[in-house]
Amino acid sequence: MEHLDYETLNTLKQVMEDDFALLIDTFVQDSTDRIATLRKVIQGSDADLIRRAAHSFKGSSSNVGALQLSALCAALEKKAFENNLDGLVADLDSIEQEFAQVLNLLRSFS
């Protein structure tokens, strides 16, 4: 799977015009916060909190065309929904790595 869907990104750039940079900044800030939140909630055992945090992250990453990141979040959401709390730290590590990739690609895109 691609890291970024450039068609979506191009459309967004068209739509947002001058605000595109702001959008990307917002996404970066927002994602950083979400990863921090996820990091915190996977310490506990509240599956629903984990599911919701993963769900929101899934939505916002899909909107900027971060396909792989969105898919990883979706997998985490599904695990939490099934109350399968094994290996969550590893899952979040993959999400964080993917986010770093997306970040690089977004910087070079804009």
């Binding site: 739509v15 959008l23 917002t26 927002d30 939505g59 909107n63």
Partner: protein, 569 residues
């Protein structure tokens, strides 16, 4: 921008990037954006800004989209505020939950600009349609209120005209039901001067306003004529003529009219188009149906109208039942009609005639059950009773008419100077027509007066010889001579004396005419050979036929006839 006008759209999403994207898309479409970051804020912004369309993220902190949607729909009341859920949920259950919470649609992430644009357009169209519908609904409510108000006023006028007259008499029971403020059925009753009661039950085609309009002239004619003593046939003719003139083709009035004489225990009845009326005989419980033998009122011109009535001798406690077809055509839930057989069955089962009236109403109502009442239902019962027990008017009139007779006499003399210029007949006839019972005989009375007066004038005063008229030449000579003499006449008279006396069954009108002439040898006149009679025979033969006898007195210059009439009321 395209054909969608600038709308105010609320975007509620807790994810900043998502909200940013959506705001930009919506703004690009030319709409005005207001934003909220959670459910509670969405409700606040909604209340303050009253946006046209709401875009609501499903999962938000504080209050989620479902809760916010319910509250916003509640605040919107009658207004349609389309709510579109924004969701990355994709399972069926979640999407159904969006719609259950009052959402009108959903938009999945990632957002697609074209789809969002189409949805905004489509919901704006729906919103406008809804607003048109609300405006029209309010107009209808307003219109309906005004209509009801107008009908109330009109009904007030109508009730004053078509009041219930003497329906409160102790021997009358009636039931009128109506589908609308107005009733297609009309029931009027009034007392005649002689103490008998006149009742008319009418059923106009249709109901509501068109039917009620016809009832007004009917009632005002009825209440105008009955207390003045007009006969039933005169009143029927008058009403028929009025309705025929006023009502459009296809609207008419099925009616039964009755004249109930309590003193003589007689019923005079006319039925035009209503179902058979029933006369229930108290003694044996049998029923005599009175069929409709006429067309309804307002169908025929007065020339073709038939006013012949039926007469029945009744006993005390006999009951007359009159109804509109609402009873016969009352339908139950299965669509069957009540019909005449079921009606007769009510009579067959009856134990006490006093309860018949209620048993009929109950019978119909039980039969109809929850079925729809689709016609006006009217029922009238009149019980034959002693005048004193009907009402005070009948009692008084009964005393007056049973114990005394009306008697009068008038004399009238035509002087010589008036013969050529004055015809006394219209004036005399006018006086006679003031007697209600004599109105029916106007043409007969005219013939009698005209023949006798002509004889008195031409043969008595002017001394013309009727033999002249035996040949065609003589005929014109006769009228030449008549013209000469009437211009020259300076003396002579014609005295007319009319007396009238009523009796229990009718009355006797005596006419006596005396002229200043020499008379004739009336002894020679034989009743079986009129042609041998010296006077112009045909006229007298006619009068004789109308009055029974024609009597000559004195030297033949005085003639007397008796016209006796029978009251058929």
């Amino acid at each position: 921008m395209n054909d969608v006008r600038r709308l105010k759209i609320l975007v509620a999403d807790d994810t900043d990037t998502d909200r940013l994207i959506l705001e930009s898309i919506v703004r690009k479409e030319g709409h005005h954006v207001v934003s909220a970051c959670n459910g509670l804020e969405a409700i606040q912004v909604y209340s303050a800004e009253k946006p046209d369309i709401v875009l609501l993220d499903a999962l938000m902190p504080e209050l989620d989209g479902f809760g916010a949607a319910r509250k916003i729909k509640e605040l919107a009341g009658d207004e349609l505020v389309p709510i579109i859920f924004l969701t990355s949920l994709s399972d069926t259950e979640s999407l159904v939950q969006c719609l259950d919470a009052g959402g009108d649609d959903f938009l999945s992430k990632p957002y697609n600009r074209i789809i969002l644009q189409a949805k905004i357009k489509s919901f704006n169209r729906m919103r406008e349609m809804h607003s048109t519908m609300l405006t029209q609904r309010n107009q209808i409510v307003q219109y309906n209120n005004r209509l009801l108000q107008e009908q109330t006023v009109a009904k007030h006028v109508f009730d004053n005209v078509a009041h219930s007259g003497c329906l409160n008499a102790s021997n009358v029971r009636y039931f009128l039901s109506s589908l609308a403020v107005f009733n297609g059925d009309v029931l009027v009753a009034a007392m005649r001067p002689n103490g008998s009661m006149m009742v008319l039950l009418g059923d106009f085609t249709g109901h509501g306003l068109p039917a009620a309009i016809g009832a007004m002239p009917l009632a005002s004619t009825f209440y105008g004529m009955v207390p003045k003593g007009f006969s039933m046939t005169d009143i029927l003719r008058e009403i028929n003529g009025k309705l025929k003139n006023i009502l459009p083709v296809g609207i008419f009035c099925c009616a039964t009219m009755m004249d109930i004489n309590f003193r003589k225990k007689r019923l005079k009845i006319w039925n035009g188009g209503l179902p058979d009326c029933f006369i229930h005989h108290h003694q044996d419980g049998n029923i005599t149906p009175v069929k409709s033998t006429h067309l309804p009122l307002g169908v025929l011109s007065n020339r073709a109208f038939k006013d012949n009535c039926e007469y029945f001798e009744l006993q005390k406690e006999d009951r007359i039942f009159v109804w509109s077809d609402g009873i016969h055509e009352a339908r139950n839930a299965e669509g069957d009609m009540f019909g005449e057989e079921r009606l007769k069955e009510v009579f067959n089962r009856n134990q006490n005639p006093e309860h018949l009236f209620n048993e009929i109403i109950e019978g119909v109502q039980q039969f109809v059950g929850s079925g729809e009442k689709d016609d006006d239902l009217s029922l009238l019962e009149i019980r034959m009773d002693e005048p004193a027990r009907v009402n005070s008017f009948a009692q008084e009139a009964s005393h007056k008419f049973a114990n005394s007779e009306i008697e009068w006499l008038m004399g009238f003399e035509v002087k010589p100077t008036s013969f050529k210029v004055f015809d006394p007949l219209p004036m005399l006839l006018n006086v006679l027509m003031e007697v209600p019972s004599l109105r029916a005989f106007s043409s007969t009375l005219y013939t009698i007066l005209a023949e006798l007066y002509t004889n008195a004038l031409e043969h008595g005063v002017l001394k013309l010889d009727s033999d002249l008229k035996k040949t065609p030449e003589g005929f014109s000579d006769y009228y030449e001579l008549r013209e000469q003499r009437i211009n020259q006449v300076t003396e002579g008279f014609v005295r007319i004396r009319i007396s009238h006396k009523t009796n229990d069954s009718g009355g006797l009108l005596k006419v006596r005419i005396e002229d200043s002439g020499e008379g004739f040898d009336h002894q020679q006149r034989t009743t079986d050979n009129l042609s041998s009679f010296g006077y112009s025979g045909r006229g007298i033969a006619l009068v004789e036929k109308l009055c029974g006898t024609v009597t000559y007195i004195g030297c033949g210059n005085i003639v007397e006839v008796d016209f006796s009439w029978v009251n058929d009321d």
